[in-house]
Structures are given as C-alpha cells and as structure tokens.
Symmetry: C2
Subunit: 351 residues, 2 copies
C-alpha cells in the first residue's frame, strides 16, 4: 500500500467547499458541511469525513438530496426546536440542530432539536463535540437505513443508529462517546471473508437465523446490534428518539442516501444539550470531570493495553497530530475528490 | 426446589410498610419505598424487590442509612432539581427525584433531577416507568459501588451502573429498557462455577488481566462492563451523569450499602423526563410508537425465539400475571421478611 498523502486541514476543508459549491450548494452551507466532515477526518473517523463526498455529490447531482434546501425551524417550547431539513445534506441540518440546542441551553440550561427529513450526516460525535466546545453536555442520536435485526428477530429493522455523547472535561480533551449501536458492518464482514478470518461472536446471524462467526454465512444472513439484548434495546431506543419522537421515518423506513430513489431518505436526528451548572457549580463540575478522568487513567492496564484511555482521548491526540501534520489521504481518495471539483488538493498536499 | 408461594401484591406491599415502620421509617415514606420495591417484584425483577429489605433494614438498624432523612430540594433552573437525599433509603429519594422531574416536564415539557447522598434504589426501570405512566419519556442513570474494570483496565472503577429508559406506547405496554451497564454479576459467576459451566466471553478478566470464560479465574479477576468498549463507555457515562454532574460520589468512590461503615454510600441518580409533544403532536407520537412496536413484533423470529418481543413486553405480562395471581416468593424469603416484621405475609399467602 502506498503511503497516504498528508493534506493540511484548511486545504482539505477548502477543497470540500469547492466540491459542494461546484454541485450547487451555496457557499455558507458548503462551509458548514465541510466543517462537519473535516471534523470527522481530524478525529480519525476517515469513513465519515471527506470520503462521504462521493455519495453526497452523486445524490445532489441526481436530485435525491436538495442542494439548496429551505431549512424550517418550529418550536412548541422555548428549549425545543423541530428542524425540517427539507431533504438537504445531513451535516447541514445536524449542525443547525445542535447549534439551536446549544443556543437554547445557554438561555435555559437545556435545549433540544428534533431534525426531520434529513440525510446521512457523517459522524455523530462531531455534533456532540460541538456542544462540548460550548461547555454543554451534548447527546446525539440518529437513525439510518435498516441493516440489523433486533434481538430475537431474523430480519433487519434497525440501522447503524449512532449514539454520541460529549462531556466537557476542563483541562482534558472532552469525553466523546461515538458508537454505532449496531455491531460491525457488512464491509468488515467482507474483509474478514477476504482474509479468511472468522467474525466475532455476536455480530451476525446466518441464513438459518442462528448466530454465526462464519463471514460467508453472515453475508447471507443479517447483522446484529452490538452487545446482545442490551445493545439491541439501545439501537431501538435510538430509532425511537431520532425517528418516532422527532417525526422522521422510523422502524425500518429510513432509506440509504446511496440507494434512495423513489422517496427521501427520511433520516431523523435527536440532539440534546444541557449545562452541568443546572445541577452543580461550573467550577465544581470541571474539577470533578478532571478527577474522573484522572482516576480512570491511573488504573493499571489490562493485558494487551499500554494504558487505560477514556473515550475521546485517542481521537483528541489524532486531531492534534492531524492539525499539525495534515490529514492522511490515499491517492485514490484524492483523485476521486479532484474529479468532483477539489483540484486544490493537488497543490496543497505536503507529500 | 419447593414451589414458591404466591403473595397478593397488596399484602406484600403492606408487609413491606410494616417492616420499614418497625425499623423507624415514617409511614408515608415507608409507603413510597414499598411501592417502588413492589413495582420491581411485579415486573419479575425479584432481586430488586422485597428481597432488598434485608440489607435495607440492616443498614437502618446500624445507622448506615437514616430512617428519617430530611430530603432537601434546590433549583438552579425551574426544570432542574437537585435532591439531597440526606443518606436516606434510595427508593425514597429516587421516587421523589422522578416525581419532581415529571412535575417539571408537565409545566415546561422537560424536567430533571440530580439526586445526591442516596443509597441503593432497587430497579432503575421502576423510576423510568413512573415517567411513562405520566406520559413522559423517562431516563434514569445511577451509579454504584465499583465492581467492573473499564475497557482496557485490570481493576474495578465502575459499578453495575444501571441505565433505564421508559417510553409510553399508547395501547401497548410502555417500552422499558432497564439494564446494568456492567456485564453479569459475581453471583452469576459463582453459580456457573457451582454448575461447572464456563461464563460467556466478555464478562470478566482473570487475575492475569486477560479475558476468561473460566468462572474460577473470573472470581480471582475482575468483572467487565457489557458489550466491550462500547458498553464500557456507557457504563462510564452513567457514572458521569449520576455521579460527576449531580454532585454525588463518582469514579469508584460510591460504597455498597451492604458494606459501607465509615461513610455514606454516596450513590447518585440522574433523572430526566420529557414530553414527546415538545416535538410532535401527542396523538401522532402515540400512533407512531404503536406502529414502531407493531413493526418490530411482526418480524420473523430468529432460531430459538418464539416471537420478537420489545423491551418491557415480557415484564408487562409478568406484571399482569402477578397482579392477578400474586408475587411468587420462596419460603426462605417469606421467613426472612416475617422475621423483620412482615408477619402479615403468613396469613396473606394463597399457597
């Protein structure tokens, strides 16, 4: 495999803006989407950064996502916004949703946004982190097209259904939890098949509806939520929060932005932000979070671990590295982005 | 094993009130605690119902829990209450916390309570269900004494740390998720050892800090959160919500009510309640929840399952059965409760 090329974050972001603008997205909206995707790349979530632009642009070009949506916000309570994304780009609607939730939290101590008629939004943790940057605890739940069977079922109903939570942590990087509530992905199963490895127990059922570690059987069967019955309950809860309560599609009716043809994807996002000083003084909260992290990091490591890390710690290190040295991108990714309108990547890489 | 004896729910509840009153708890408070414990028994969570009274009474008698706490409520925002439980019984403080959260939700659409200086509170789902009974989505997180090592660590920092969510579901029983975020329990490991069975992968590390399925090695090692790194992140999140943000103990400093001697247990609970009609019309919400459940239940079952059930469905059936036919209790449990002051159980059983 050739070495990836390091692209400075600002060059990558500007290239993303160019690409989106070239496909009809107004400049201000393009900047918001690019910022969300770059935030994922910076944290090392390469599958949810600029790599998403290929599918986004295809959907824009084919009219399956609106390049110039009219986002509409309504409220039933001062702290709660419903954001109609008008079938625009997911990162745009999600950024707007969390912005509104944080804005409300700054006035009322708590704020929420229910985002409907949205699309794939990249990495959930990016929007939770937006809240933490403003001193709020941020929670994000989003539903997605059906890939996983609920516990006890043999066919899919639930999506990857990400759940993310970010908590500011004073002089430490924020705690950022960002997880798909379904286990593994068919992509990873295909990789295991190619490499002749079994998949971990709990990832999938075979075509006979029984648990399997055989990747070939898993590909003919169905993926599962993570963590057995408990993870399945959480995966369902994400669909309830992001789909049922918001007014978005739910219960297996969300479509993938890669395949939706006859109707909108219908993704829903649920965003919650609140201030810890609703409960304790801000200074106490900060001191206690720092202490929580210090106690966790001081634990002796288990076999196979160098040290005990908290969620968000490694991605913060990656972010610092990538801000300093650029975002590593494969030549294939760069070529693809250049073809979409990101020509400035060719001159901006540091090699 | 002899057949359990079925005790009518009202007899069991009155016996619990008698027991608590005999050990110094005022009548009104005893009724609240008894109601919470019976609610767990009715849902089939026998370990978190009247079976808890033995430890509670011991703690009351030894002064480790206050029989007549002065619960104090303060607010920094109208929707947010901090409840100082004054080291009283956990079910009392938790019931009061969720009552206040629901009360605020009825005025503002959302309400929360941070409960500090509390104790073991029984089943988290009981308090989440209190919210659902009032038409609110209820979320409960509680921390507990350290039993589980966070992902990558070799020693305990996190408790069973229950997380519960209840969502009203119209003409269906509410969705009730109620899970320990740590996997298994040492009690279950001891049972596996007695029965010569291995424990499931992912439950524990052995004394060498490596994953084990050998119950003997697990008992010398440490238990783990459920679901690998993702479950560990959630178990930590529960400690942050219930401990760090509330002002309670956290980070391994909560004590068990069975063993605390030198200081209070210091348990914290985080309670959130909100109305779906903050986002969509109540009637739409109800119709959509019913539809979500109908779609899930209509899925073909996996091998080994008769049908696909949603979280809360089985416990609702159990509740209906036990309300009609009584709560099954072992003779040993009944004898123990009679010895604590629950004499009316002897005449109330239906045999």
């Amino acid at each position: 495999m050739p070495e990836p090329i390091r692209i400075p974050a600002d060059v990558a972001r500007d290239a993303a803006v160019d690409i989106l603008a070239a496909h009809g997205v107004p400049a201000a909206q393009a900047a918001q989407v690019a910022a969300a995707l770059i935030a994922a790349d910076l944290r090392g979530i390469d599958t949810h950064g600029l790599a998403c632009l290929k599918d986004y642009v295809a959907a824009l070009d084919e009219g399956r996502i609106k390049a110039q949506p009219k986002i509409a916000v309504t409220r039933r309570f001062p702290w709660a916004a419903t954001v109609d994304a008008d079938n625009g780009l997911g990162p745009l609607a999600a950024s707007e949703g969390m912005r509104l939730a944080v804005e409300a939290a700054e006035s009322f101590g708590i704020g929420a946004a229910a985002v409907i008629r949205s699309n794939h939004f990249g990495a959930a943790g990016v929007y939770a982190a937006m809240a933490a940057e403003k001193g709020c605890i941020g929670i994000v739940a989003a539903n997605a097209s059906a890939v996983a069977a609920p516990h006890g079922a043999a066919t899919p109903l639930l999506g990857t259904n990400p759940l993310a939570v970010a908590v500011p942590a004073g002089n430490q990087p924020p705690l950022i939890i960002d997880m798909a509530t379904s286990e593994g992905s068919r992509k990873k199963v295909r990789k295991a098949l190619d490499e002749g490895r079994p998949i971990p127990a709990g990832w999938a059922l075979g075509p006979d509806g029984r648990p399997t570690t055989d990747p070939a059987a898993a590909l003919k069967g169905v993926m599962l939520p993570f963590g057995g019955a408990k993870g399945s309950a959480l995966c369902l809860l994400v669909d309830v929060l992001a789909g049922v309560i918001t007014g978005a599609e739910f219960g297996g009716r969300v479509l993938s932005v890669m395949t939706n043809q006859e109707r909108e994807s219908g993704n829903g996002h649920f965003m919650l932000a609140f201030k810890a000083d609703a409960f304790i003084a801000e200074a106490d909260f900060v001191r206690r979070m720092e202490e929580e992290i210090a106690r966790l990091r001081a634990l002796p490591a288990a076999a196979g671990f160098d040290a005990v890390a908290y969620p968000g710690e490694r991605s913060a290190k990656k972010r610092a590295d990538r801000l300093a040295s650029g975002i590593p991108m494969s030549a294939a990714l760069i070529d693809g982005l250049v073809a979409l309108g990101g020509g400035r990547l060719l001159s901006g890489g540091r090699g």
